[in-house]
Point group: C5
Chain length 96, copies 5
């Protein structure tokens, strides 16, 4: 999974019907301290995440292993909200 | 999913029969403001997208989860047309 | 799918039995004008492509969605020969 | 599979229910001598790995081929702890 | 598939039981002339390859389409040993 920061939202009226009612959040890949430095991508939210949250995203067919994304043309899903990250014994991120 | 701009079209007479009648659009990866700065790739259109549209594309086996691409040798599909993108509370893209 | 140029051929006597009789072509990723500038990889040909052709390749499990690659340890397949590419209303590549 | 060093841990209270009880470790891609120089990502531990261990991780749908990750929205799994690496006939890493 | 050079071996006592008895070889991505210039990764050998061989590797779910890797948490497999590579009509690699 990737550590990612939720940075925005997407509105799309014309879309595959299996995406109806799904929340499409813009994420940016983050490093192991939670700093968003990587590429942006869009993931379906399944854990009520919001802009500013640090999350985990699962990709590829693994993105379809949730109730909300089953059999949908979806290749990225937010499946966890990160509370804290600890690297080499030190807390480097804690959700505020 | 990737945010992408549709930049062109592909014509291919000789192709796998499951691609017959499919629209093959050239997309270029875009950033979170809709600016096309990344790599080009070809995706099957399933939402009547056109050149100039900002779209979402799903990849890998997720690209086969639509009626038009089921069981086809297709690894990228346009499954949404983006109306607007909002980043950090600000609208950064709106379809004209 | 990736736009790719077929640049060569591979000979491999010792191989998985499901690859017997398959044509393994060396491809190089190309940009949206057909210029081969990217990384090389090997794909199974399913459309009688030849060296010099500009083709489309499908990757991952999508590479196994053809009669010739079904259930084989194959992750890239040539599934179309490109006749022409049009970008922003202009023909940028035409098969000679 | 990727050679990776386990560098930390992730705590996430809100997560997909199939992740309940799973250990989410932060890994960093390593080179063939075990030096962690690449990108960080999070993988589910299935072999009782710990911070500092050099491990192998499997990705994509292959990350779901373990008892602990079956059908879960998980795209990376630690499936081996590396004892030693030998390159060109020389031992370049040995677990201490 | 990727062209890769086998550069080493991996020993891992603690591993998923489906990996018991499997040979885990360190590969390095090579270019179309067989020169190993890319990233290292570990693949399961299914064709009795050895260090120094130039091989083809299949990735993702395609890495599980062999008798030795079926249903295993394995995302890369060596499925061919390359005898020769020909680019633009010229032999650029021949197994010695």
């Amino acid at each position: 999974m990737l550590i990612a920061k939720v940075i925005g939202t997407t509105v799309a009226t014309i879309k595959d019907q299996k995406l109806e009612g799904r929340k499409l959040l813009i994420c940016r890949e983050a490093d192991e301290t939670g700093k968003a430095t990587g590429k942006p991508y869009v993931a379906v939210d399944t854990v009520d995440a919001g802009v500013g949250d640090l999350v985990l995203t699962a990709h590829g067919s693994s993105g379809r292993q949730t109730y909300l994304t089953k059999d949908a043309p979806v290749d990225a899903v937010i499946m966890a909200v990160i509370d804290s990250l600890q690297v080499d014994g030190e807390v480097v991120f804690r959700k505020s």
